[in-house]
């Protein structure tokens, strides 16, 4: 947060202006109601992407670990949503908003705990053996993703599983003539809460300071007397837990869960990390929303181009800022 203020004071405002610029640039190309619908949809999608990607940007930035297994935690979160909401089906279909919210809350908490625990085991058993060895990291984490998908098949079966949203979060509300899905508003709110929480943690606590410092210079953090390996575990567990939460929200958004739901997101998450700048939570947040907006706008205006729009966006950003929108360590 203070870093962001320092950037603004230094006049480095152009990256922050990108989001409103994209929103405004798309406005003349469609009706106001369509724009409002797509903008809310894009922001909500971006928030879910942020939930899935936020932990990975810290893992990359702080630990310099190239993990392709991050999707496994998303997948685990998604399947836990199926199990928890299935077990609490009575709450999920009830007419009470509070019961619906409790059912979703239970799924989120279950995913948070289970994926956090899985992250701890994964770091202790696998990742810690390959610190500093990028090729082995890639191989071993790709292997981890494949094994995780097979474990999911063993537990939940190979067939796609349907997942209905809790009753109160289905349907839309009409604002200024635009249909806004209730679930997207909820996802956007949750993403904002997590972003605000992460920023508070990073800017107002010593652990957060250490994470930000460690992203820049691990060696110096150790020379100040801090055991960075303990921080690594905490960051990895947090990243996995956030991915689990993201998996729950993404699964409910898709309303169907497959064993590849997390793996399918891996490339998009990497694109977000690269656009935002590796290790930057603020960059990840901005990039995720940017990707969500561009995907929705292009999908509406030129559906055939939607698939490649994020790649084009990444190329454009990298031509403008080769280290991403908010490069860590750029001072």
């Amino acid at each position: 947060m203070s870093g962001a203020l320092a950037r603004l004071r230094a006049g480095d405002w152009s990256a922050y202006a990108l989001l409103p610029a994209v929103m405004l640039a798309s406005l003349p190309m469609m009706s106001l109601s369509a724009w409002l619908t797509l903008t809310v949809a894009g922001v909500a999608m971006g928030m879910m992407l942020f939930l899935m990607a936020a932990g990975l940007t810290l893992i990359f930035g702080l630990m310099q670990v190239f993990t392709f297994a991050h999707g496994a935690f998303i997948t685990l979160g998604a399947y836990l949503a199926v199990s928890v909401l299935g077990a609490l089906a009575g709450w999920s279909v009830a007419g009470s908003w509070w019961l619906n919210l409790a059912a979703l809350g239970a799924a989120l908490v279950a995913a948070l705990i289970a994926t956090g625990a899985a992250g701890y085991v994964f770091e202790r058993v696998i990742i810690r053996r390959v610190y500093g060895e990028h090729l082995r990291q890639i191989l071993i984490t790709v292997g981890g993703l494949i094994i995780a998908e097979q474990l999911v098949v063993a537990v939940w079966g190979a067939n796609p599983l349907p997942l209905a949203k809790p009753a109160s979060f289905r349907g839309s509300i009409i604002i200024a003539g635009a249909a806004i899905e209730k679930y997207r508003l909820l996802a956007a709110a949750l993403g904002l809460v997590v972003y605000a929480g992460l920023q508070l943690l990073l800017s107002r606590t010593r652990v957060g300071l250490l994470v930000r410092a460690g992203v820049e210079n691990l060696e110096m953090v150790e020379a100040l007397g801090y055991r960075i390996r303990r921080l690594f575990i905490g960051v990895f567990v947090t990243g996995a837990a956030l991915a689990g939460i993201g998996g729950v929200m993404w699964a409910l958004y898709q309303e169907v869960v497959t064993r590849s739901i997390g793996g399918d997101m891996t490339i998009l998450i990497f694109i977000i990390l690269i656009i935002g700048g590796l290790g930057s939570v603020g960059g990840c947040f901005t990039a995720a929303i940017l990707v969500g907006l561009v995907t929705n706008y292009v999908g509406f205006l030129a559906p055939k181009l939607a698939l490649g729009s994020t790649i084009v966006l990444m190329m454009a950003v990298l031509m403008w800022r080769p280290r991403g929108l908010f490069p860590v360590g750029a001072g």
């Binding site: 320092a6 230094a10 930000r212 410092a213 820049e216 150790e222 100040l224 750029a330």
Partner: protein, 243 residues
């Protein structure tokens, strides 16, 4: 050098980096309450010696003792917690953090000690004006001031600084010299690597000169400063270029 009061002692320390043998049996004593200069030409092994002391590179042979206890096998955080502060040649400033946050990271769990903070800011008043600025936006001299301030924001038993004047303007160098002279008045034990002989002569009590991974001369700084022939023999062209 009489090392009976040595706070830090290296005996026959060898360090390999990959397949390169950098230190070839370094013997060095840093006396308590004194400022010891470590001089030598580029590539002599000065930085490697400091990094080996801090555990950033592992010694392959020899002993390193701090206050009589071996520290050669300790990890870097454990070495730092003994009260050894390190300012690397790169300064190690966290550019994304503010000046305040950089300093806060070096304090204990209770945060800043107001009196100590006043003392440190008294050494470098410019930093107080930049308190909430991103450290990445500071000038080179201000970054060095911040790096040294961070090293002394808590009471340390030994301060290790690697080439603090490198690339700095003469006015800033003079500011650093004044700061080290004031630190000496507090009886802080300091090990300082420096190529700038003017600074070395101004602040050093003791001196050790390295060449080819060994300490080839150790003694009083005043003796070396007074002996131009010895300076030429030990420091060669580097002396003339930094006078």
């Amino acid at each position: 050098m009489n090392d009976g009061a040595a706070l830090l002692r290296l005996a026959g320390v060898h360090t390999h980096i990959g397949r390169y043998h950098i230190l070839h049996g370094v013997d060095l004593a840093v006396r308590r309450g004194r400022l010891t200069m470590l001089l030598g030409r580029n590539g002599a092994g000065k930085t490697t010696t400091l990094r080996t002391i801090m555990g950033l590179w592992r010694r392959s042979a020899g002993e390193i003792a701090f206050d009589g206890a071996p520290i050669g096998a300790l990890d870097t955080p454990d070495i730092a917690r003994l009260g050894i502060a390190y300012v690397p040649e790169s300064m190690g400033i966290f550019g994304q953090l503010t000046v305040r946050e950089n300093l806060l990271l070096a304090t204990g769990p209770k945060g800043f000690d107001a009196a100590r903070l006043d003392d440190v800011m008294g050494l470098f008043p410019a930093l107080r004006q930049k308190w909430h600025n991103g450290a990445g936006s500071l000038s080179g001299g201000q970054k060095q001031m911040l790096a040294i301030s961070r090293a002394i924001i808590e009471e340390r038993r030994l301060l290790i600084v690697d080439e603090p004047t490198k690339g700095l303007a003469p006015a800033v160098i003079q500011l650093l010299i004044d700061a080290f002279l004031r630190l000496k008045q507090t009886a802080t034990t300091i090990l300082l690597v420096e190529q700038n002989f003017h600074m070395a002569r101004s602040v050093g009590d003791e001196v050790a000169v390295m060449d080819d991974g060994r300490v080839v001369h150790a003694g009083a700084m005043a003796d070396l400063a007074a002996d131009e022939a010895l300076q030429r023999q030990l420091l060669g062209l580097s002396l003339a270029s930094h006078q």
